[in-house]
């Protein structure tokens, strides 16, 4: 089985060809961040226009690199949400057009499901497993019980973890993208110089919060600046203290999630970490320790499969296609699309708008 996957839900335009034998024949990713880094800019273009001008060439390149044509495909999967509506419409229309023109099954894939199932593409992990998704837009803990069967046990109540890194980098003038910039500065910093809060530590639930930590960084910076301008030493120490606080918080929440997981499925189930924040070495280290303490294997996909990409969408399409699931061409993109439909309804207020 060969499936084309299309991802356009945020800043990356990507297309990939993947087989049911878990071979990634191609995975072409165009990141708008690359364009912007040249200018030292901080603001990726969110317009659908950016996806629109690239999508066709990227799909062509994905097929070419894979050495397949439309006639070799068994299905087309495109991200249907959640994300920015403009990009979702472009990707969905491209996917539907190819499916209609070549009489192929069409699959509208939930972006989060793409992240959730990647570990089965890379490491053939069996259900159930614990998923920690830490990216610029998401911060969630999920129990992945099966295809389409997800239990969200924790989420951020305010900022995503990657967002906290970006904003801290911005406050400290460390450059962009924020994650690597904070990590670089933190390397030479003293993580114990500033006592920043450890959000949600020891709370019984598995939720996250990073907004208060961001404010604490701001406050510390302002206090320092009352004396004199920030030195590079100050920046490095603040970055290190911030990073340690996020790492501690993620470790604490994950350890709580392991308890929930163990209650339901026994101990030793794998921990899968997805999202760009997983690339942070200190965070990877504390999660490794957590997994070890829980007696669980830790699985982190390679970075290009950890961040947004078409291969994970193609793979989620394959998993669903194998179960005989497809979507109608009347599917409407959904800017909000929670994975776990059993969560309280109030959470999804406004979802009908999507």
């Amino acid at each position: 089985m060969i499936v084309l996957g299309i991802e356009t839900s945020c800043d990356e335009t990507s297309a990939a060809v993947v087989t049911s034998e878990r071979d990634i024949l191609s995975n072409v990713i165009h990141s708008q961040l690359d364009d912007h880094r040249l200018y030292g800019g901080v603001v990726p273009e969110i317009a659908a226009r950016a996806h629109l001008v690239k999508i066709e060439a990227i799909i062509d390149e994905a097929l070419q690199r894979a050495g397949v044509g439309f006639e070799d495909l068994d299905g087309v999967a495109a991200t249907g949400g959640p994300g920015l509506i403009g990009g979702l419409i472009i990707g969905t229309m491209a996917g539907k057009a190819i499916a209609a023109a070549h009489a192929l099954p069409y699959l509208a894939v939930n972006h989060l499901e793409g992240h959730a199932l990647t570990a089965r593409l890379t490491d053939d992990v069996a259900f159930p497993y614990l998923l920690l998704l830490i990216s610029g837009g998401h911060c969630q803990l999920l129990i992945v019980r099966g295809v389409g069967d997800y239990q969200r046990i924790g989420t951020t109540l305010d900022d995503a973890s990657g967002e906290a890194f970006d904003k801290t980098a911005k406050m400290l003038d460390l450059g962009f993208p924020g994650g690597p910039a904070v990590e670089r500065a933190a390397q030479s910093g003293d993580k114990d110089r500033f006592a920043l809060p450890r959000p949600m530590r020891r709370k019984k639930h598995c939720d996250f919060s990073f907004s208060g930590l961001k404010t604490a960084v701001r406050r510390q910076k302002d206090l320092l600046e009352q004396e004199r301008p920030l030195s590079n030493r100050d920046r490095a120490d603040l970055a290190a203290s911030f990073q340690e606080s996020v790492a501690d918080s993620l470790a604490d929440r994950t350890s709580r999630a392991f308890e929930v997981m163990t209650e339901q499925f026994g101990s030793g189930r794998p921990l899968v970490v997805a999202g760009g924040v997983a690339a942070n070495k200190r965070i990877a280290e504390v999660l490794r320790i957590q997994a070890k303490e829980a007696g669980s294997p830790l699985i982190t996909a390679p970075l290009e499969l950890c961040t947004d990409n078409g291969a994970m969408i193609a793979w989620a399409g394959i998993e669903r296609l194998k179960l005989g699931q497809t979507d109608g061409l009347d599917f409407a993109p959904r800017p909000r699309w929670p994975l776990d439909s059993s969560a309280p309804k109030s959470i999804y207020a406004g979802a009908a708008k999507a």
Partner: protein, 162 residues
């Protein structure tokens, strides 16, 4: 422009102030939320949204109101009108505002807008601007409110907050 200065002592007071302000909002209202990163723009917007009754008339205080930085806008069904919570931080061009439906929001819904300087020519004629500054205590905030004519009497109500 009419204005008011409000001192907020702590997070509890933020929530009480948000409840007062939320109760005054109606369809077509626009709040421009300004302040540095970490000042509490999202926290105030979150508190306003959480203290407004939903379409079944209930107040769900712990309802999730995630940061809209990533998605640019998040929408909420409320009894009085839909609330659209914008964060324009990531916008590079005011033209992109059309794409996220800002015209519809400004006309028909309640708009809470962070980083409103990105609105450029789409800045509405009527609005309440709230500039959030830090106070002396950790949780304290100083709010500078200024509103257009349609906010005059409501500003008097808000100014009496203590």
């Amino acid at each position: 422009m009419n204005s008011a200065h409000i001192s907020i002592k702590n997070q509890d007071a933020t929530r009480r102030f948000a409840g007062l302000l939320g109760g005054l909002l109606e369809a077509g209202d626009v709040l421009l939320l300004e302040g540095d990163l970490g000042a509490g723009k999202s926290a105030l917007a979150r508190a306003i949204i959480q203290t407004m009754p939903d379409t079944s008339g209930r107040i769900v205080l712990n309802e999730e109101v995630p940061s809209p930085t990533f998605t640019i806008v998040q929408t909420y069904e409320r009894e009085v009108a839909e609330v659209w919570h914008f964060d324009l931080y990531r916008l590079s061009d005011a033209e992109e505002l059309y794409e996220i439906g800002i015209e519809e929001a400004l006309a028909n819904h309640i708009s809470l807008i962070e980083w409103p300087d990105r609105l450029a020519h789409l800045k509405p004629l009527e609005f309440l601007e709230i500039v959030i500054g830090f106070g002396t205590e950790e949780e304290a905030r100083a709010l500078e409110l200024s509103g257009t004519k349609n906010w005059r009497s409501r500003l008097e109500t808000l100014a009496a907050f203590s």
